[in-house]
Every structure is written in C-alpha cells, then in structure tokens.
Symmetry: C2
Subunit: 466 residues, 2 copies
C-alpha cells in the first residue's frame, strides 16, 4: 500500500462512527505530525478524537483489518518524530480522554486517562497534600509521558515514568484491551508488561488508562542558584554533592550561552557564566541544612555567587530560567529549528563529556548551548540549524553522531529521556547490538501487521510492504 | 520427547566439554530442583556448573538444537518451584560465576556475575561506603533475585530488583548474548528489555551479568520494636505512619503465632502479641526524630511496648527475630512443609486483608502464621501442611485460592515478590486476563522451541510436545 492512502471504506466507516470527531483537514493533520523539532512533518491521513477505551479499540480493530497505521497523540510535545506518519494512517488524538478516574489518597496513587496533563493532575491534587512529581518541562499528557518513558528535572529524586507508573490499561494491536497489573505497590506476577509498554512509543499498544504513584507534597522546598567559572567546575560540584549524599530534588545546569539566551528572553539579569539550579524537598530544617551543605560544596568548587530561597514566588522566578530554555535558545537565531541531543552518561564521566561536547561544537562552528539534568548524567545541546542549509544540517548531524558515539564509549546512552522515534533510530542499532533483534521480535509477535506507529524505534523490516 | 530423556549424544558432548562439571548423580540433581517448599521436587537430568557467559551460551545452543530444556540455578532459595524440571533437561548452575567485575564508587553502581550473593557483595563493598540495599532474607544470588524480581524487607525504601538493576547481559534462547543497556542512570533507548528479563524467571533468557545501583551506607540506622494488641492495630499504625510520611527503611509485621514460634526457636522472650519491627536510615538526628515520631504514632494506635536502638548488635538481635521466621514457623510442626502465600494489596486494604486472612485460616483449622512487609502491602502466611495428607493439602490450597481472590478483589496481586513459578501459575490467568496471552506471545517469539525453563509462569501451550 502506498503511504498516505486511506482506504475509502475505512474513511467512510470512521466518518460515520465519529462524525465531526473524524478530521482530514490539512492543518489539523499537520498539527498531529511532528511539530516541535527539526524533523520534517509527516502528517497522518486523518485524525480521530477518541473519547473512550472502547472507541480506541474500535479504531485499532478497523485499522488492523485494513492494514492502516495508528499513531496515538497526546500533547504533541515529543522531540524525536514520534508522532509522524511516514506511512500515513490515523492519528488517534487522546486529549479528550482527560478524566481523573480516581485518587486513592491513602494509597498515594491515582488512576487517570491518558489525555490528562501533568499540570492539570497537580492542580486537581492540590488539596489532597499529594502531587505527581515528574516534570519534563512541557505540559505533556501523562499517556504521552508514559509512552516515551519521559522524566525531566525531578528524575534525580523521583525517577522516570518507569518508576511512577504502577500499571496501565492498553489497547493492543489486535484491538483487545489488557490491564498490565492492578494497584499493588509491588508485583512479581509474570512478565513486566507495564514497563514494556512504558517507553514503547505507541509501537506495541495504546495506553488508555494509567495507575500512577503519587508523593506527599514536601513540607518545605528550597531552591538555590549558583554561578561557576566553567561548566567543568559546575559539573564537578554536582558530582561532589551527590557523592556527599545530597538528595537533590532537582539539579540543573545551564551553560553561559544558555544563560545569555534566558537573559535575552526574559530579562532575568543572571551572570552570564555557567549556572546551577538546585532544589531540595523536605522539612524546613532539613532543606535549610541541605542548602547550606550545597553552598559549602559549591564554593569549594569555585561557585562565585549563590542565592537560595524558600519563597514560592522567588522559586518560581528562579525555575522560569530553566523552563524558558527551549524557547529562549531558539530565540538566539530567529527562524532556526532546534536539534536536541539527549545523551546520558555515568556521573563520573559527565564533566568530561560536557567539556568535549562544548569544544567539539565550537570547533564545528555550531551554536549548540547546553542545559542538562546533571544529577542523572543527562544533558541536552540545542543545536540551532537552518533545515534548508544542507551543509549545516550535515555538520549538525555529524556532531550528533559523534556525541552519541562518545556517550556510548562512556557506557552511556544516546537517549536519556526523549526516546528514539525517528530521530535516534540510526543510533539505536549501534547502542543495542543484537538486543535490537529481540526488540524487533517482540514487535513482530505483538503487532504482526505492523500497524502501531510504524517506522519508530526499530529498523524498517526487510521486505515489509507497509 | 518423554520427560527426563537426555539425548545420549548431548550428554556425551556436555561430559566431554565440562568433564567433572557435568553431573548426573541423583543427589545433585534433586538438589537442583525445587527444595525449599511444599512443591514436589522434579530434578533435572543433569547439572552443568558454568564458569563463563560463553559456556552458558554454548550449553543453551546445544540444548536448543536438541530440544532440551535449560533451567538456570543460583542459590536454590526460590519458593514457587522455579527450579523444577518438569520436562527434564539441564540445570545450569551459575554459582561459580561469582566474580564482582567492577565497582564504580563514583557512579554508585557495580557490575557482578549472577552467582554473587547479596551478602558477599555487601561484604565486598563494606570499605567503599556503599551497599546493595535489597534483602529478601535468604542469601540469594543476585542473578536469581533479578530473575524472580525479588525484594524483601527493604523494598519500602529501596524498591525491588526492577528498581536496582540498571542493565543485564543475558544468553537468549537462540544462544546469542545480548546487553540490555549500559551504565547510564536513565535511558529511553527502546523497549525495556532489562525489566522484561527481570522477573522472567529464566523463561526468556539467562542473566549472565548484572549492573546494579548501589546506595550510600546510611550514617545512622535506628531500629524499633513494638507490640500491639491486635494485627489490625499494628497495620493501622503502619498506614498512619506512612501517611504521616515516615520514610521507613524496613517495616515488618509478625503476628502472635509467629512471635511465639520465634521465641521457641531462638528464645528472644518477646511478648507474644502482634509485633512491628521498624528501621530508619539517615543522619543521627534524623533517625532519632523519626524513631520518636514513630513511637508517638504507634502509641496512638495502641502499642503496648516500644524499644528502639541504634546499637548495631542490638539491632542485629532485633532483626534476627524477623530473619528466623521461616525456619522458626516450620519448627512449630516438625516434619511439616510450608506453603507460603504472597499477596500484596494497596496499603489502605491491608488491615482488612490480614484480618480476613487470619479469621479464614482459623476457621479452616490451618496453622498459618503471618509475617509481612507491611509497608508495601505485602504479607505471607506460612501454612504448615503434611504433603501426605490430601485433605489437609486440599484445605490449604482452597485457602490460598481464596486469599489470592481476595487480594485481587482489593486490586492487589497473588504474588508481591515470590514470583509465579509453578505454584502461582493457576492464579496468574485470573489475575492478568488477556494480558497473559501477550506474555505467551512474547515467550513464543523469543523462545520458539520452549527450551527456557518450560512449565513456569505461563500455561502449557496447547498441543506442545515438550
């Protein structure tokens, strides 16, 4: 079947079943392909706004019969082309499945539909004393965060989606609905299908409900900001603090170029040197003690300025610097697109990795500022490129390949949290070796028709017609 | 092929290759089947003591060609018949693969072979200031703990094997060796094969190397012991303390019968009422504060006696009560075998679940004392039975089925940490519903010859010849 050919009968059936919730306009289709990055937009043939698990199952069954691809859609904030439709097909928009089904405060868990965003969940939870701790920056949907194994600034303390998803309900490629577990805090009941679906980017099943672990809102939160003479000094301070056992809730690094971009974007007037942003959660006495310890360690590593605060408004202003990074850096070169790297290495290699990356990017003449979740060993360059300039794209891609190889040589990974999608697919084979064949075998067994988000994570199947 | 028929040519090849490391004596074979529980021992046809990944891969390849089962063996401490050989085959004893390959203190991780036990790893780590935090009671091998997704007394703080295994090397059913990841703290690089193998009980691959997260040895440890008038009062105290946010490192419950058994076994002279054992890890000030808070909460729920200590020797004596439970309870009825239940329910249902279980066991006339990791909602009855008494076995099995059903009705699981093996297989289908078909599809795709630990976790394949 040629790409972008939606069989007429399927289109008619879907239109009949979903009326105005079945959409084929160009704008809405483009919006449901990859939009956030440099990766070329490949729109689906149509978009269906699903409102229940049964509807998702129905669409998947119909598409399975017709051999048409299905691509689940949440907030559209993924960065590696996860939402593109290289073979056309149906984008299943899950944003209307946005019900918070249950909050079990005593058990510190909740059940949500996939279209609930993390910000809305936290607004909803506010009065319970509980919160959902992961923060990937974007106000992503929880279904999307699970599907891409997202994490973000708080992973250093609270882990990634693999750690907070207790179980999911999912529509599988044959249209059947499964539940991978229930609400027990731990389970040894067979293969871990929960964590197989988390991070599978919609290629094995579509998550239609999630049971999530929650945390108690910390009694006190302290945030600190400190400037360093070099990126190495800043990363070494983090390593030192982690080895001392400081339980960061967040520990973020911005390099000087990123700080410059943030100043231009939101006029924060920060010193334009490498900056660490830290946060501690706990009792008032504990966060004060931790902030003091962090200050001492930071000064040992050459921190030149250090502020800390427990005031919520000041804290929000401080973190705005971090949350603005993506758009602030894009603003450094209007019209440019951003290619985000996502390597993650063992902490002991982090300073070396960042230093080498900075040097290499400069030598290649790339504008590629760095921001990172350094407590996890994970950082991002946002490489500013003109997608119309093939030479520049080639240089940027050579840099990305070089950096991924460097991370691998340090026993790291090419993707700490953005996933594989289309963009990291060329690097996965090198990283996983023969393990990739077993991923492909699982995909082939669970989705023999290859209808679920094809062209993502895995290499194309030899001889595949779709 | 009839069970227990090891093809002559395969036996000869293995004997030639492994000399005295290939063993077929009845005693050694029986030792390599299930030995710790009521489940009937089904010995393999032969045992091979492997010394390298290449050797394991060689055995698996040979067995794959001959259609002979392979069963990995560690410490032999699994409880659900995971080591039995219902179709005969080769037990691959991994205890000689006991090298600690690397300790990366700066990164707080280590690389070990599967035959290293947790106690030996912790002895080895002592001078690094780090430790491996999981404690399932038995001095299990780390490979076995990963294969069964073990946890134990410290899971409430440190999680289960799914949380501490960063990646594994494994020999897959076709004899190929894969690595599921490297040493990055987090990764979004494709399907989570690490967590698919963790808990797969040797049915998908044989773990030949593990990269594990370590923790800093806490500066101070405080342990507390307190008695309660009833099991409900004790479980309610735990729920209250968890909701207050107390970060238990351990929180264990023994019911009165279990305390009685421990007193008989090791003469601790404990008051024979339900007992909670708690532990806190942190700074000296912090553990003192936590112990005090716990004491206040415990008294609110009716605790009648409370002792706490930071002295390592006293602490060891206190925990001896917990570690002795399995053998102490067996001692209540000499000659009996123990059937261990393993339900895990949401914390809010725990008191109700334990109360119902106690009442039911008494009504059925079963001796079935309770010990549990109550902070996880996980508890065990150890039902004392005479396997020669069919009526008693039927009563015990009816109780187990009833309890598993109760746990499921409370959104829990039949197995929090012991795994499925043979013993929990009848209950998994009910618990997982159609999800079980997808587990079976993964098994069939990765191990089409069904040579890897057949007859465990999944239902028998219809029409299967082995």
């Amino acid at each position: 079947m040629p790409a972008s050919a939606l069989p007429q009968t399927l289109a008619e059936t879907l239109r009949e079943r979903f009326a105005e919730r079945f959409q084929t306009g160009a704008a809405i289709r483009a919006q449901h392909g990859a939009t956030t990055t440099w990766i070329e937009n490949q729109p689906p043939d149509a978009v269906v706004f699903a409102e229940s698990t049964a509807e998702v199952a129905g669409i998947v069954s119909l598409c399975g019969e017709a051999g048409v691809s299905v691509i689940p859609f949440g907030a559209g904030s993924s960065l590696e082309g996860q939402l593109n439709a290289p073979r056309g097909g149906i984008s299943i928009d899950l944003t209307r499945m946005d019900r918070i089904v249950a909050v079990n405060a005593e058990d510190m868990d909740c059940v949500v539909q996939p279209g609930v965003t993390r910000v809305r969940l936290n607004e909803y939870l506010r009065d319970t004393g509980l919160f959902f701790p992961l923060d990937p920056g974007a106000d992503a949907t929880l279904g999307g965060m699970a599907a891409t194994r997202a994490s973000g600034t708080t992973a250093v303390l609270y882990g990634t989606m693999k750690d907070v998803v207790l179980s999911v309900e999912a529509v599988m490629p044959d249209g059947r609905v499964i539940r991978t577990g229930h609400r027990a805090r731990k389970s040894a009941a067979g293969y871990d299908l929960t964590r197989l679906l988390v991070g599978s980017e919609g290629t094995l099943g579509i998550i239609t409900e999630l049971t999530l672990r929650l945390r108690g809102i910390p009694e006190a939160v302290a945030a600190a900001r400190c400037s360093f003479p070099s990126v190495e000094a800043a990363s070494s301070a983090v390593i030192g603090a982690l080895q001392f056992g400081l339980p960061f809730a967040r520990i973020e690094l911005l390099d000087a170029t990123t700080v410059n971009a943030v100043n231009r974007h939101s006029g924060q007037g920060l010193p334009e040197t490498p900056l660490l942003l830290a946060e501690f959660h706990g009792s008032p006495g504990m966060v004060e003690e931790l902030s003091r310890s962090f200050g001492e360690i930071a000064r040992d590593y050459g921190a030149t300025a250090l502020d800390w605060t427990v005031d919520p408004e000041e804290r929000a202003r401080l973190w705005k610097a971090r949350h603005d990074v993506f758009w602030a850096v894009l603003g450094l070169r209007p019209g440019a697109r951003g290619i985000s790297t996502d390597v993650c290495v063992p902490i002991s290699r982090l300073a070396e990795c960042i230093a080498a990356a900075t040097e290499r990017a400069e030598a290649l003449g790339l504008v590629a500022p760095i921001a990172g979740h350094v407590g996890d060993g994970n950082f991002h360059n946002l490489i500013l490129v003109d997608p119309q300039n093939p030479e520049e794209m080639a240089t940027a891609n050579a840099y990305v390949g070089w950096l991924n190889e460097l991370a691998l040589s340090m026993e790291g990974t090419c993707t700490g949290e953005h996933g594989v999608g289309q963009g990291k697919r060329p690097y996965l084979e090198r990283e996983m070796g023969p393990a990739l064949d077993f991923m492909a075998a699982i995909k082939a067994a669970l989705d023999p028709g290859n209808i679920m988000n094809p062209g993502k994570i895995l290499p194309e199947r030899p001889g595949g017609s779709r």
